[in-house]
Amino acid sequence: MENLRELYQEVILDHNKNPRNFRKMEKPDGFAHGTNPLCGDQIDVYLKLTDGIVEEISFDGHGCAICTSSASMMTLALKGKNEAEAKALFKSFHHALTDDAPHPEDVPLGKLKVLAGVKEYPVRVKCATLAWHTFDAALKKLQGDITTE
């Protein structure tokens, strides 16, 4: 079990126990509901954008430690980013978890690097990326709303 420390690092366990920005947001600009039917993880992501910049982001729901801590860290990483930066970060994060090939265009992951251990547990990659996919869906919905107006 000790070798699982690579996966369940202290930072991850801490974010799991005390998730940051863990709350429902009143009147968000963007919102999406994400589920992982395999394990029953459910996450809602809420965001407020100002001039295309993530001004506020929060989440609630329930999930495993990997899912919860990844969502928590995502909210910290995305705050203040514009849409292009957010998408680039998601892409780079996804590469780090799934792909051995070098991607020169990838941006630095900063504190998110702690989740890279998930790569060794392919069935858990979905746990780590659920919040990101949900964020992406919220963003897309928002863009959809904007274009229909």
Partner: protein
């Protein structure tokens, strides 16, 4: 007690090659039997022998191999008949599994009979495969699905069953043993009450046949469905038992080869039972393997297996109950060999990964029974399910691993 004393679990384990495997450097502790059980050499060899020296298509050729394969396949059917004590061999239909068996009954029995306003009665603890086929047929016919609730202990509320069962009820479909809770349902009582109103009953026996002796004639059930891979056979083979009269009244489920007597463009004459429901080349090796699996179970004795597993269940229940922050989901008085549980501080998915590191294989998730999860207000559970080859020592490893898991997440 004699049975337990004579029960030689080590010699049984020696028959299952995979049990000698190591996972992450630890001896495998396989406690995911409710998802799929492992295979004894007797089953592996039956399938190996078929492919090495007896394989051909069946019911087709006049050549020797085809005759041999046909005989072996039909011997599998005969083993199943004896195992569930069906009246005749042609009441045993080979399917891909419990799911296909239930879909067959939904489409071939229920669909032509159901009208708007009719009802199908199921229970809150059904596996998705005993919910969704009925939802589909309800959509097709305008019939309505009614659900018998369950208590906090995880038992059916039988007074509610009696209330819900009525003139509109055209079929009752109930699991014999719940895959998520372990509850053994009073199927005999359910069948008797339904029959008193002339309502036929389908029993989903996927979780029952490896653990409980089943006699379809004593139960008087109209349909009984189960899968090969939960009773030491391979995946992709399953069984539908149906009463001859009902099966004869039903149209074929699928069209194709083997289910016909003659085909012309003016019309087709369907084959007799059981072939009417076995369109296309079936899972020949699966049927032969299932026959071997049943013979193996019969050799050990289902009574002795049930007694051993009951001992494991009681031991595991008492061991797990001693763990702070652990809650067992499903505490019915009558339970089969599984324990579903949640921890206050660790999500089931993390429990699964942590236990795996100790070589312990459990299932985590909603167990294809999301209404059960919702009933007990949990997103998922971890489930340890036992088979004839599990040992008390393995349960010690499980408990120890749960302690370690809690420690790591503290």
């Amino acid at each position: 007690m004699n049975n337990i004393a004579q029960y030689d679990v080590e010699s049984i384990r020696a028959d299952f090659p995979i049990l000698g495997k190591e996972i992450h450097g630890k001896p495998l502790v396989y406690l995911d039997n409710a998802a799929s059980s492992q295979h004894p050499v007797q089953v592996i060899n039956a399938i190996k022998e078929l492919y090495e020296s007896g394989y051909s298509n069946i019911h087709r050729g006049v050549h020797q191999l085809s005759q041999d394969a046909t005989k072996a396949y039909e011997n599998g059917r005969a083993s199943v008949r004896g195992f569930v004590n069906a009246d005749c061999v042609h009441e045993i239909i080979f399917t891909r599994g419990t799911t296909e068996s239930i879909n067959l009954v939904a489409q071939s029995y229920a669909r032509p009979r159901l009208r708007k306003g009719d009802e199908i009665l199921i229970t809150h603890m059904e596996h998705h495969s005993n919910i969704v086929p009925w939802q589909i047929v309800c959509e097709q016919t305008g019939a309505e699905l009614k659900v018998v609730p369950i208590s906090d202990k995880g038992e059916l509320e039988m007074d509610r069953f009696a209330e819900l069962l009525g003139e509109r009820t055209k079929l009752v479909a109930v699991g014999h043993v719940s895959n998520a809770l372990g509850t053994v349902n009073p199927v005999k009582e359910i069948i008797d009450q339904a029959h008193a109103l002339g309502v036929p009953v389908l029993v989903d026996g996927a979780q029952a046949v490896p653990h409980i002796p089943v006699d379809v004639q004593a139960l008087d059930c109209d349909f009984y469905a189960f899968s090969g891979h939960k009773i030491y056979g391979s995946s992709g083979i399953g069984v539908l038992y149906g009463k001859e009269k009902l099966l004869n009244e039903m149209p074929p489920y699928q069209g194709g080869g083997d289910m016909i007597l003659s085909v012309s463009f003016e019309g087709t004459t369907y084959n007799t039972l059981p072939y009417k429901f076995e369109a296309g080349t079936p899972n020949i090796a699966g049927a032969i393997g299932l026959g071997a699996a049943i013979e193996y179970v019969q050799k050990i004795g289902l009574g002795a297996i049930a007694a051993h597993e009951h001992g494991l269940l009681e031991y595991a229940t008492s061991k797990l109950k001693q763990i702070d922050g652990l809650r067992i989901i499903g505490e019915a008085d009558q339970k089969a060999a599984l324990v579903s549980f949640v921890l206050d501080t660790v999500h089931p998915h993390d429990i699964g990964t942590m236990l795996d590191a100790e070589g312990v294989a459990v299932r985590t998730g909603h167990h294809c029974a999301q209404p059960v999860m919702e009933r007990f207000k949990v997103p998922a559970t971890a489930r340890a399910s036992f088979a004839m080859y599990n040992t008390f020592k393995e349960i010690d490893v499980l408990a120890e691993s749960i302690h370690k898991t809690i420690g790591m997440f503290a």
